[in-house]
């Protein structure tokens, strides 16, 4: 266990360094961006004298050397201050925390569905590698990879919100429903179906293929042959011996892919007008609201780092073969 705490300490330090790097990147992006907050204020105030501009600049610390500004910026972020939104005129942190639960609801539901169903599909396909079902998985994953996720979403809208109006076309809940009532939750569930299915489909395709490959690999290994030779039933061999090991790469990759999963969520939110981080980010970009968009970038990178850290640590706990220092 002592070994594990060393690993954990190393990984946590590494994660902290990554977050610091993202902060520095964000700071640089703010400075590369043409126009700063003062230009925006000056623009809003109309005819403004150069002296006043210099004064505002000093107020925001923009006249100081770059490294001092960076230090101030890091201190600000440590205090949980991600800046103030130009467009919404509220702290960026508030905007993000308002949008985050909706995105997490969408992403976690879709990811869990894809993981569970994908693993089941993969195991079934791996047990009979040349069956029709196995080929179906191959075709499904090919289609899942090739179809643009936003287009799949729009096709679902045309099919199930327009031709056969089973589901609402946009949003998260109907207006006028009291938040917290049972009807409200049912309505959210109703609104969730299409976005979740759209997002889950791409990952379902991916995980079916991954778990099929992983399972095929494990089923061909010596210890599975030994288990079979002992006369264990096929079910015990597949589900007790093989599946456990086959799950390791699946869980790892699921964790490491969180960054891509968030990207998919941005597009799906845009298609279904789902009020989450992606919709907020897009709005911020279209409104040229720099602090908000950079705040979201920083925040999502942080979520990804933390998610990776957790996967990494669980991975170390699950799999005794992984030792400190092995990096493949």
């Amino acid at each position: 266990m002592a070994n594990f705490s060393i690993i954990a300490a190393k990984r946590i330090l590494n994660a902290a360094a990554l977050i610091l790097a993202v902060v520095i990147l964000n700071f640089l992006l703010i400075h590369i961006a043409p126009g700063d907050i003062v230009d925006t204020i000056a623009g809003e105030m109309g005819g403004i004298s150069p002296e006043l501009i210099a004064e505002i600049r000093a107020d925001y610390g923009l006249d100081r050397p770059l490294y001092e500004q960076l230090a101030l910026y890091i201190l600000k972020i440590l205090r949980g201050d991600l800046g103030h939104s130009f467009f919404y005129d509220v702290p960026v942190v508030d905007l993000i925390l308002d949008a985050l639960p909706q995105t997490l609801l969408l992403v976690i539901t879709a990811l869990s569905l894809a993981l569970v169903i994908g693993t089941i599909f993969g195991v079934i396909a791996a047990r009979r590698p040349n069956s029709a079902f196995s080929h179906f998985i191959t075709v499904l994953s090919l289609i899942g990879f090739s179809a643009p996720v936003f287009w799949t979403g729009l096709m679902f809208l045309i099919a199930f919100a327009s031709f056969i109006p089973l589901f609402p076309p946009a949003g998260m809940a109907d207006l006028g429903l009291e938040s917290g009532s049972l009807d409200y939750y049912l309505d959210v569930l109703h609104h969730m179906v299409l976005p979740v299915v759209t997002l889950a489909l791409i990952y379902l395709a991916f995980y079916s293929r991954l778990s099929r490959a992983s399972m095929l690999d494990v089923l061909g290994s010596d210890y599975v042959r030994t288990a079979r030779a002992k006369g264990l039933s096929e079910r015990v061999v597949v589900y007790k011996h093989a599946l456990r090991n086959a799950l390791i790469p699946i869980v790892t990759i699921a964790g490491l892919q969180f960054a891509q999963i968030l990207s998919g969520a941005v597009l799906v939110e845009a298609v279904f007008a789902w009020p989450g981080l992606g919709t907020l980010a897009l709005e911020a970009i279209l409104r040229r609201d720099g602090p908000t968009i950079l705040g979201i970038l920083f925040f999502s990178a942080m979520v990804v780092v933390i998610f990776n850290l957790l996967t990494d640590l669980t991975y170390n706990l699950i799999d005794p073969r992984i030792r400190l220092g092995s990096k493949e």
Partner: protein
Amino acid sequence: MGHIDMTDQKSNQSQPASVTLEGAYEIPSIEHPLREAARMFARNKAALGGLILLVGILILTLVVPFFYTVDPFDLVWAPLSPPGTENVPFGTDYLGRDILAGIIHGGSATLAVGASAALLAVVIGLSVGSLAGYYGGWVDEVLMRITEFFQVLPTLLFAMVIVALFQPSVATVAFAIGVVSWTAVARLARSEFLRIRALDYVKAARSISSSNSRVIWYVILPNAMPPLVVQATLAVGGAILFEAGLSFLGLADPNVMSWGFMIGSSRDYLMDAWWTVTIPGVFIFLTVLAVSLIGDGLNDATNPKLRER
């Protein structure tokens, strides 16, 4: 459409795979690995279908524009005319622009961005990965930290920020996509270099004091190529989807017609005019499908482990 009549050719395809033995007592010549891979690829119906499909799409987007000269931004017919209307076989969008013209003229932007972004991703990824894998030690440590950093950035958000900071154009969009998609190539190149570096023929090359650059370029790289080519193909598919996503969100150059842009600009009308968003999406889908089929085929043809199956 080009690819429909081409499927006939595909079904006529039959490959007699024969190894030529010149005389009974001669040693059979060993086939060049590239030729062997080409033969394996040609035997794979799905991969060949993908290749034919891709050629069809390339002809459609690069050659056909010279013959179908309708400007995709021109208002040519009544808005929202369904497909099959006179003069506009694919119908028109909400402004009355010809969708067929958009498909034909919009493909080149998508393909150009996809190809150049993938090229950028491969160049960065290959440089980083090969140096890290070859030199190991602190070089590896530093380069892999940088790779890790790019891996935690949510790709689409970061690309959106880059495009928003610098005016959207074909070049900035390609740059943004390339910069966020090289990490997979780097990881693969690194592990291949690590593996091959330890093999005897590399030791042999070193023992005759070949320079580092010679070992990297002439000894290791050719042997690391097959999986990297497959990864590069995947990167092209990914970059095309990425470009489509950015254009769909309205973040690409608004003066350049592209398939993603067509979907994005027409999405408000999808309830009344399904064809405006469906048709361009089918073409994105077919293009990425063609590239993925080719990638799968290359993987099967170059990976001896998969060949036995």
